[in-house]
Amino acid sequence: MVYFALLLLFIVSYSFYYFGKNRALKIKFTGDQKLASLPDYYGYFLVLVVFLPSLIIWFILLLYKSNFQELYVMSPTLFPDIAQWSDAKFGLIMNKISNLALIVNIPEADLLKGQTSLLNMSSESELIAAKNLASFDSIYGWSIVIVFILLPVILGLSISRLINQKLNVQPIVEKIIINIIRFSSIVAILVTFGIFFSLIFEAIKFFQYVNFADFFFNTAWNPNRAWVISSGETVDPEILKDAFGWVPLLTGTLLVGSVAMFVAIPLGLASAIYLAEYASSKVRDIAKPIIEILAGIPTVVYGFFAALTLAPILKNFGDSIGIDISAESALAAGLAMGVMIIPFVSSLSDDVIRSVPNSLRDGSYALGATKSETIKKVVLPAALPGIMGSFLLAVSRAIGETMIVVMAASLRANLTFNPLEPATTITTQIVTALIGDVEFENPKTLVAFALGLSLFVMTLILNIIAITIVRKYREKYE
């Protein structure tokens, strides 16, 4: 029904375009005065006036349907003491009423045993509320449709009466359009601020439970300890002292990231050098897109590959040569991540190497250097800043990567630098903290935002450095 309303709105708005245009064309002119704007603009004008307010209302109605539902069903006339109810009780009753609503209109003969007993157990006011809820959807749907015929039509018709030959709508329409696009660019910027503030806001809540120093310098990570805390309760920071220590997560992240870079840097750089300096254009045209496929494959695929194929192979290999390799080792996750990152290194490095001016190469050849000597002694040093930039971008990518480590790395924190042992990462713990119940007043949930903030800051810094380096380098040769 609500989508039908949207369709209706489109049709109504579209017809108002012709209505406004025709209205303008039908004006009887007095003297030699012409129409103040082009006829189209009267159409646009009506469409904007009709469409925008209705769209906003439609969106709000759609989004907060459940709130309206609660208002309609849980009225104080049915439940006089509703103001004193706790959230938990409210949820419980609401749940019961939604279950009742499914069966309340079925004839008694068709009911199953459990359903009849549910009906018998319910109070009179609960039954009335359930009947209200059962009828809510259709009432709600139809009221939206009516609002969406009436509101636009009344708005459109009343405003169309203003149209006369002197009304110059073009500046008005243009002003509305400029404001729409200005608003859009504000939204784009708001996303950044939204990220920053939602992270900061929830992280501050987290640090009301946990000491700043305990979080950043403690080496013990046992978030399970916070599970005993119920929402909103104030707790002694001493209990949470050894619960949220960030250090093992950081080392785990760096460990997996280093393994990944250990794979991605040599392979990516070698591919970039070969494709930029040696390969014929034919080979290049085929090989480059194929390598870039690696970056386009969803990370959940790499995670699946790492957990189900790579980890068992590594474990069996370790067993056969007598080394104990964990099934959730940082190695498996890191290797898969490394493969994923290869194109990030190779593509950017390739661009940078190709942008080194040929005069440098020619000078080196003229002095008798071989091709490889030229690359090693001249081209690479010249391209070094850009290559470093590409490495940093790859590192920031590795730190923020989630699915591979969620699927292949361990959940248990382990302060180690041995890639054969299990390790956990920041992103893994964010996901673990938020799987299951999300309670915004509990440190076990809030810690995800503190971790997210640290992740955001780390990748941001890496990124800014990388972009600055690459930009400086570009200026040098342009």
């Binding site: 989004l63 050098i273 690696l294 386009g296 959940v300 989630t402 995800a448 992740l455």
Partner: protein, 416 residues
């Protein structure tokens, strides 16, 4: 002289390293694809067991005159048990349970669905191909080893002997697994399907497109056409470039903290998932759109302005239409990225067990990648091939989207 030989040797070695790098990278692509395709192809077929089904009035509460509604509400459990007893003579209780386990748990549903379409078979005997349980299916496909000790197998020796007997009678068959494409998720691998997840992803992408495309396009138009270069534009430029490099999980936290926490939007629904993906896609679209707006030559703007068009007319009648193909390419690539993204969906709760096919962006749903994640975490062996098959579908969609983008770039995009 030996010096030159050494240098040439080093040259060849260096070139070999480069070739090795390219070769290994290409090898990884091939291996990954090969692995996914070999594990995943099995999921498109399911094993069936042929059985004689006698629609016996003794075990049915309905007959051929019953209405469809009555049939849908009645239980076929007893009939399913009778089918097992009729086809395998003289079973004791323990044996009966083991044989029943070789069929899918949804045996009765399959009988009911058949009876709904063929009410005339009441009191008649028909040969039906009943879906086997996932464990048996895996044995038949050879994904389970048969030669391990009995206690490590889900199919015991007795069941294996029955299987061999059935095989000899040629009653084990295989049909195309339509359920995989039409069903929602299920606890039983043999009936689990991907359609619910596809619809979830579809609604999320539609929301993402409806949010990110207009906002991205308008924001780029504003930044490129209506502002003068200066400190503020620079700041916004840096801002958007950084936004493009923020890890996707942080966008998930934004969706959770902002949309669900502050604006009280519902959990688990494609609407919130789509908006979160939209935040993530926005920078990609803006960057693509701005570069194609910048590529439109100034002479076109000057021409329109010289003929008396206003700034807005020039922009929306001349510049934007010319920049649209480039913007579309960027948008499709951004959508493809959004389709493959899992972490934001995890954050906004689109990873629950959902059996129903979502009917709109406000119904609880999973997305394609999060369904893949859910299946891959499952302990049931039968879900491994489902996971790979899900990945195959996901990759297929990604390839189609990227191909569309390439085609638009080749055919429609204006080159200046």
């Amino acid at each position: 002289m030996s010096n030159i030989k050494k240098r040439l040797k080093a040259e060849r070695r260096f070139k070999f390293y480069g070739q090795l790098g390219v070769f290994l990278s290409l090898l990884f692509v091939t291996l990954l694809m090969l692995k996914i395709f070999t594990t995943g192809s099995g999921a498109f077929f399911r094993t069936t067991i042929e059985a004689d089904v006698f629609f016996d009035p003794k075990f049915m509460q309905v007959d051929k005159n019953s209405s469809d509604k009555e049939i849908s509400r009645s239980s076929f459990e007893a009939l399913a048990d009778s089918v097992v007893n009729n086809n395998f003579k003289d079973l004791n209780e323990g044996q009966f349970i083991k044989v029943r386990e070789m069929f899918t748990r949804r045996f009765d549903y399959q009988l009911r669905d058949y009876f709904l379409d063929n009410k005339d078979d009441y009191k008649k005997t028909v040969k039906l191909k009943i879906t086997a349980s996932s464990d048996l299916d895996q044995i038949v496909k050879g994904n389970y080893p048969r030669n391990v000790p009995e206690e490590q197998r889900k199919i015991n020796d007795y069941q294996l002997s029955i299987l061999d007997e059935l095989n000899k009678q040629e009653r084990i068959g295989s049909t195309f697994n339509f359920w995989f494409f039409t069903n929602g998720d299920s606890r039983d691998p043999e009936t689990a399907g991907i359609w619910g997840a596809i619809m979830g992803s579809f609604y999320a992408l539609m929301v993402c497109l409806a949010f990110a495309f207009p906002i991205g396009l308008f924001a780029s138009v504003y930044l490129e056409e209506y502002t003068k270069p200066g400190k503020i534009t620079d700041l916004i430029e840096v801002n958007i470039n950084n936004l493009a490099a923020v890890p996707s999980i942080v966008f998930g936290l934004l969706g959770l903290g902002m949309l669900i926490g502050v604006f009280n939007m519902p959990f688990q629904v494609p609407l919130v998932g789509g908006l979160t993906l939209g935040f993530m896609t926005l920078p990609t679209i803006i960057i693509a759109c701005r570069s194609s707006l910048r590529a439109v030559p100034p002479s076109i703007r000057h021409g329109a302005l010289a003929l008396g068009a206003t700034k807005t007319q020039t922009t929306f009648h001349h510049v934007v239409p010319l920049a649209l193909p480039g913007t579309l390419t960027g948008t499709i690539i951004g959508m493809a990225q959004a389709l493959g993204e899992t972490a934001p969906l995890l954050m906004v709760g689109m990873v629950a067990f959902v059996m129903e096919i979502p009917g709109g962006p406000l119904d609880p749903a999973t997305g394609l990648p999060s369904q893949i994640y859910l299946w891959s975490e499952s302990a049931e062996r039968g879900f491994i091939e489902k996971t790979s098959a899900g990945i195959m579908l996901l990759l297929l969609f990604l390839i189609l989207m990227n191909l569309t983008a390439v085609l638009i770039r080749r055919k429609v995009e204006v080159k200046w």
